[in-house]
């Protein structure tokens, strides 16, 4: 937050113009980001006939929520024609534990790697980091063998494991890089106060990590919620997450394409993620460490 707060009363015309420009730029960007959403929503509100005839970009002539209703309640995912609603919980059961576990592990790794530097901490970190670059297609086959031999094939637990393992490198990265800039004095002071490794983590470090927790949760939730490959490969039938259902609805190559339903499904699938963004976004608090430490 580098502006000087009081310039709200600053009546200089130069300032007003700058401010105006700032908003203009932001609004233009917002338009760029919103345009596709607009297309999606308007498409999801059209009837199939209207889509077949006309342009994709135009506004719907008649607004109908049939597609939404259909996607949620009736769309066929394979032989099951009760919409994507039944897959919602599968995704929740998978995403929530995986996000929590990987974020927690990332936080504590980052903390241990920066505030309790041991010999080789940087090397350990660098090694962990490469996990970020391994293409998921590569791990698919060995992973299925491993899961099979662990008896976790086609189970939610197995999926959570996979997502935690491959999310770890990211969360560790986020937290480590955030903690690097938190002054060590805080940890020292808490140590003197008699707090141990975990107490310091819970009581001092975590409370000032909100912005990065938000980032980590957003990332992990998005990755896990939107993951298709692992979900399709390591969960079967009734356990399938929502994205598999989405894929099954959107990604058919033969048969009639119901764009309105596709879009409604896509939006429905994206809603939880959006919700997480909106809720988590609030916690981008400002200037937390300011003023605690000199230097």
């Amino acid at each position: 937050m580098a502006d000087i707060q009081h310039y709200s009363h600053d009546a200089g015309w130069k300032h007003t113009i700058l401010r105006g420009l700032l908003y203009l730029v932001l609004i233009l960007f917002a338009a760029y980001y919103l345009f596709p959403l607009f297309v999606m929503i308007s498409t999801s509100l059209k009837s199939l006939d209207e889509i077949r005839e006309g342009s994709l970009i135009s506004l719907p002539r008649v607004i109908t929520f049939d597609a939404w209703n259909y996607a949620w309640n009736e769309a066929c995912v394979g032989v099951e024609c009760s919409g994507i609603k039944i897959y919602f919980w599968n995704s929740v059961k998978m995403a929530v534990p995986a996000v929590l576990i990987s974020t927690f592990l990332g936080a504590i790794n980052g903390y241990a790697l920066t505030k309790w530097r041991f010999k080789g901490a940087n090397i350990v970190f660098a090694l962990l980091l490469f996990g970020c670059f391994i293409p998921f297609q590569v791990v698919l086959l060995p992973m299925s063998q491993v899961l099979g031999s662990l008896g976790l094939a086609s189970s939610t637990t197995g999926l959570v494991l996979v997502h935690v393992v491959y999310g770890l490198c990211f969360t560790t990265l986020f937290f480590r890089n955030y903690y690097v800039s938190i002054p060590d004095e805080l940890v020292k002071a808490a140590t003197i106060d008699g707090a141990g490794f975990f107490t310091i983590f819970w009581r001092i470090i975590l409370p000032i990590s909100t912005p990065i927790i938000v980032v980590s949760v957003i990332w992990q939730f998005t990755q896990i919620w939107n993951d298709f490959l692992f979900g399709a490969s390591f969960a079967s039938g009734d356990n399938a997450p929502m994205t598999v259902a989405l894929n099954n609805i959107v990604n058919t190559t033969t048969g009639v394409k119901q764009y309105n339903v596709d879009m409604a499904t896509a939006l429905l699938t994206g809603l939880p993620t959006l919700l997480v963004y909106i809720l988590a976004g609030k916690y981008f608090v400002r200037g937390l460490t300011a003023g605690s430490v000199k230097g």
Partner: protein, 302 residues
Amino acid sequence: MGASSSTESNLTASIQRHLSKIVVAPSFAASLFFVYGFILWTGYMAFSKSRMLPVWDWAGLRQYERLWQMERWHVAIENLLIFGGLFIVICLFLGCLLAVLLDQRIRAEGVLRTIFLYPMALSFIVTGTVWKWLLNPGLGLESMMHDLGWTSFKFDWLVNSDMAIYTVVIAAVWQASGFVMAMFLAALRGVDQDIIRAAYMDGASLPRIYFGIIIPSIRPVFLSAIVVLAHLAVKSFDLVIALTGGGPGYSSDLPATFMYTMAFQRNQLGVGAASAMMMLATVMAIIVPYLYSELRGGKKNG
């Protein structure tokens, strides 16, 4: 106080001392097994005769030879360089810019932040589909402009073999830049206010403060952002599939789609593994030196 209690306290003391290592150990072990173990596995596969399922018969360098003889692989690699480079640079720039703009006590910050971020919420499949419409000359922007009377407007990258890869950049940037913005914003919020004030006193203009002080002091975030973006670039599979399907022809193929096609569609697991190893090697070649300098510098700062 008996001897036992003192050994006990020695034990707890030594646990305390090694706690940081103990805590990192499980993650490290998991990574050794699930990342490095699997890389080894893949490395072996690249030397095997595997086609549909993994087999352990040794094939020497044959798979690599075949890989490099494929015209399509060359296209994929070239595309990765174009796409990866542009994607990372543009996302960093946009993400940084948006974060800085949002950092100006914007009235509707929450709303705007969500708007910039939401594309991330959509799966790549959806992003690809929507952008396919928007960029399609006959359906999307171009026809809209024509309808609005600007008939000379031409934007046919999607259907142009030479330009198709850039449409992937557009869509990918649209999707990922918001997240980069969030990362930067989080870091900006951690910067000490007094430092910024000091910079004002030094007479620095706002851009100067950001580029001279704030952004350098959140340098570690660049590492995060670059890693995340490189990851997305290397793995951007769904998006290409949904947006261009690798086309026209295979002109917008990327190593990820190439590898997938080979390993799972064409039963050329060996070639797929070889291409995966090449991808990893490419990434390492870029990331390792960067990481080295970054962590080096970090030590000096800490």
